[in-house]
Every structure is written in structure tokens, then in C-alpha cells.
């Protein structure tokens, strides 16, 4: 990875101060966003999002599982992020016997996955969650839907969190949960028979998923960095003034 020289850093900061970034955008301008659904036919829902040169593919798979004992009336959702080495050569998996300078993508993947989990599933008690987990229950305490959301970073050109969040939101809105018929004749402690329909699908309810919540998180970071840049500029100016004296 080639670093930035002092001259280049000064150039970039100067541009920001005049509301011009190196690719010609304004400070508060997003790159062109393009979205495509249904890219993975064998998944229940999928999406591919391109934010400039950053490309993310998200897929949602629904499988039947058992709800946790603490929340017998809620389904389960797990989010995984995989940074493909095609995006960045440092994302390559380190070999077992040789030490390689890049740590691989484990840390970054985990960090992104945890951030997205907090966003979509809320805190520990489930407060502030964007997804309604009770809509995923089939039989209380026995059978529920497990949603596995996988995000794959194909190409990385900055702002992975935004693109991942958008991809997951679109993939969820594209998700069809198969209709289930539960046979009521099963005894109380037996596993009920669940017949998963191949034909009918119910659209997953994403009306509570508010993308502005996620975008706000990113906007704050930008404002902070603007303030930071502003502080830096004034400090540089102050230092130069002192030097002149």
C-alpha cells in the first residue's frame, strides 16, 4: 500500500476547506449508488450494491431452527461479513506456517459484522432493533426461522459500512420466507411436523428497517472529521503565523 506524502495530505486538506474533494465531489455528496436484487437465485433474498467502486453482495438464507430458551417467541438472525481478497490483497488468509505482514481480514470482518448486528438487532435486550424477530416464529418455543445474512465485500474503495448496510436492507426486502404448514396433531413435547412449502413465499417485513438510521451513523462520522479537519487547518494556520513571527 503506497502511503500519502505530506504534500498530498496538504492538497487534500486544502481542497476540503474549499468544499472540493479529490474526486470532484462536495463534502456532503455521496457517490452514485446502484442496487440490483435477486443476484443469487438459490438464496431466499439477495442484493448487489455498488457505491462508486465499492461492490458488496449480500444474501439472506432462511433455515428452520429451534428458538433460544431465553426468547422462545423470537426467531434468530445472524450476520456474517466476509472480505474477499479480491477487494484488497491484504485480505488474504494468512498461511499457517509462514508469517505474513497482512493480518488477513478477520479483524475487519468481525468489526463490520458487530457494527451491523448492533444496528439491525439492537442492544442486548433487543431494544432499538430494526428487524422484528417475533415475525420469524413458527411454533412458540419449538420451531423458528433462522436467518443467515452474509455480506461479501467484492471490491473495496471506502465506506464499506454504508454499502453493507444498504445491501443488507435491500436483500432483506427481497427475501421471501417460505410458507409453513404446521400439523397440529403433535403432542406437546414432541417435535411438531412442519411442512415447508416450495411454492408460496411470504415477503419479509422490512417496514421497520429505517435506512436513515444507518446513514445517519455515517454522516456523523463525516461531520466529526470535518470539525477535525477544521481544527487541523486552524492549528496549521496558527503554527505558520507563529513561524512568520
Amino acid at each position: 500500500m503506497v502511503g500519502l506524502s505530506e504534500g498530498e495530505k496538504h492538497f487534500i486538506r486544502g481542497g476540503i476547506a474549499q468544499d472540493i474533494r479529490t474526486d470532484g465531489r462536495k463534502r456532503l455528496q455521496f457517490r452514485a449508488l446502484s442496487v440490483e436484487t435477486g443476484v443469487i437465485p438459490q438464496a431466499n433474498g439477495s442484493a448487489r450494491v455498488r457505491l462508486g467502486a465499492t461492490e458488496i453482495i449480500a444474501s439472506v438464507k432462511a433455515e428452520l431452527g429451534k428458538p433460544s430458551i431465553l426468547h422462545p417467541d423470537k426467531g434468530k438472525v445472524s450476520i456474517f461479513v466476509d472480505c474477499s481478497p479480491t477487494a484488497e490483497p491484504t485480505f488474504e488468509a494468512p498461511f499457517q506456517d509462514v508469517l505474513i505482514p497482512g493480518r488477513g481480514s478477520e479483524e475487519l470482518s468481525t468489526e463490520l459484522a458487530v457494527a451491523l448486528q448492533r444496528c439491525l438487532l439492537g442492544g442486548k435486550s433487543g431494544a432499538g432493533a430494526a428487524i422484528d424477530l417475533s415475525s420469524l416464529i413458527v411454533v412458540d418455543g419449538k420451531v423458528c426461522w433462522d436467518l443467515y445474512i452474509d455480506g461479501l465485500v467484492v471490491s473495496s474503495d471506502g465506506n464499506l459500512l454504508d454499502a453493507l448496510a444498504a445491501a443488507i436492507k435491500v436483500a432483506l426486502s427481497d427475501t421471501g420466507i417460505p410458507k409453513v404448514n404446521v400439523s397440529l396433531s403433535a403432542a406437546n413435547d414432541e417435535e411438531p411436523e412442519v411442512d415447508v412449502s416450495d411454492e408460496e413465499f411470504l415477503q419479509f417485513d422490512t417496514s421497520r428497517l429505517d435506512p436513515s438510521v444507518i446513514f445517519d451513523m455515517i454522516s456523523v462520522a463525516k461531520h466529526v472529521s470535518q470539525q477535525f479537519i477544521g481544527v487541523l487547518d486552524s492549528e496549521i494556520a496558527a503554527a505558520e503565523a507563529e513561524a512568520d513571527e
Partner: protein
């Protein structure tokens, strides 16, 4: 199960025994990579990205400092197969396929023109429907060409099998998991040399020759297509340069 219908001669997906799946290729899909390509063979979709030639990151891996070091990593996305996979990297099959792709491409890359450097080939499988190995090699060839890395020839690969007493070209997942023999061939297209030959299960020698011949024909057809794609891409670049 009937893999080849005795009355019509069609396979499970409606193809004839010597028919390949639909090919689609696109060059330059990953902006940050030096070279990249997307290759589709039917429902199998693969992205290859090449980073290099660049400075060697780890001197310990360098065996011969008069030639370039070629590295390859094969990864499958968790959603690529029907059932969701756990641990898409680091398992034995991925390590084996990484090695196979590396050896196949090494035979074609002119390594002594780039001493003391490394070339990384990363292949990511987005959708797996049989023949991922071949799709990866074809995608890697396109990506290397896009990166401008000097090669002896275009490397193409195709698989063929033998079910219901018929040699079948380009097996998909259903046919592959039937348990019959699966021959994967990789060739240098114009030079007519074989760089990769792998087979699962057993075949009598004369049947093997016909199956391998079929696979080589498939490889040559793919080479024609790849040449077209590269020509289109070069024309487009030429127009952009003005």
C-alpha cells in the same frame, strides 16, 4: 436417475451430451485490482482479481529470485452452494484447488521476465454449479491478460464426464454429484499443450481418451470465446484512449 434421456438424448438441463453451458465473461470488474474478470459458465459465477507484479511481501516464500513468485487463493462465498457453507476458506478442498490453479497458471506466465516480484491471483466463487475449477482458471486467464502480465498462451479449462455410457461435456452440479468420473483438463490453447489433467473415479483407457478429447474440444471453444472478449476489451480501451 436418468442423466441422459434415452429417447431424446437430452440431459437433465436440456443440453445435448457435447453441448457446453452458456459462457459469459466481463473484464475489469474490480476497480482496485491490476486486472480482474468475471466468468460465468451456466450458473457457475466466479470473480478473479490479479494484483501484481508487485514487490515481494515475504522474502521467506521466495524460492528462486530470478523469477516471479505466483500465489493463488481460491475462496467460495458462504452463499455459493445450495446449503450454506461454514468456513469457506482454509479447508482442504480450497487449499487443493488453490494449488491446482496456481500450477496451471504458472505454466503459462513468463516468470523470468519479472524477477524478485510476486503476482497474486485471487479467485472468489459467487455461485457454484459444477465446474468451479474450470471457471476459475478461465477467469484467472482473463484477469492476467487484463493486468498485462506476459503469458505464453491463453490457458483454458473445461470438464467432462461419463454417465449412462455417454461422454458428457461441462458437467453441472447434479451430474457432478452423480458419482461418475469427472475429468478436468486445462490446456494452452494455441500451443496445444496440456497443463492440467485431473480425474475422479475410474474409467477404462479407451473411454478415457474419448472423454478427454471431448474436454479438450470444450477448452478450445472457450479459448475462441476468451479471445473475442479480449479483442472487444482492447478495442474499447483503444477508443477510450482516443
Amino acid at each position: 436417475m436418468e442423466y441422459v434421456n434415452p429417447l431424446t438424448g437430452f440431459r437433465v438441463d436440456g443440453r445435448r451430451p457435447n453441448e457446453m453451458r452458456q459462457l459469459k465473461a466481463e473484464v475489469g470488474v474490480v476497480a482496485r485490482a491490476d486486472g480482474s474478470a468475471l466468468f460465468e459458465m451456466g450458473n457457475t459465477r466466479v470473480i478473479a482479481a490479479v494484483y501484481g507484479p508487485r514487490e515481494i511481501q515475504n522474502k521467506g516464500q521466495q524460492v528462486n529470485n530470478k523469477e516471479a513468485l505466483v500465489r493463488c487463493e481460491y475462496r467460495m462465498a458462504e452463499f455459493s452452494t445450495g446449503d450454506r457453507r461454514r468456513k469457506p476458506k482454509g479447508d482442504r478442498r480450497s487449499t487443493e484447488i488453490s494449488l491446482v490453479i496456481r500450477q496451471t497458471m504458472e505454466a503459462s506466465i513468463l516468470k523470468d521476465l519479472m524477477p524478485c516480484s510476486q503476482i497474486d491471483i485471487f479467485v472468489q466463487v459467487l455461485q457454484a454449479d459444477g465446474g468451479t475449477r474450470s471457471a476459475c482458471i478461465n477467469a484467472a486467464t482473463l484477469a492476467l491478460a487484463d493486468a498485462g502480465i506476459p503469458m505464453r498462451d491463453i490457458v483454458t479449462s473445461c470438464s467432462a464426464g461419463y454417465l449412462c455410457s455417454t461422454p458428457l461435456l461441462d458437467l453441472n452440479y447434479v451430474e457432478d454429484s452423480a458419482g461418475g468420473p469427472d475429468v478436468t483438463v486445462g490446456i494452452l490453447a494455441k500451443m496445444d499443450k496440456v497443463t492440467l489433467l485431473q480425474m475422479d473415479a475410474k474409467l477404462p483407457m479407451d473411454t478415457f481418451e474419448s472423454v478427454m478429447g471431448l474436454a479438450i474440444e470444450g477448452c478450445k471453444a472457450i479459448a475462441t470465446y476468451i479471445r473475442e472478449v479480449l479483442l472487444e476489451n482492447t478495442k474499447r480501451l483503444e477508443c477510450q484512449r482516443g
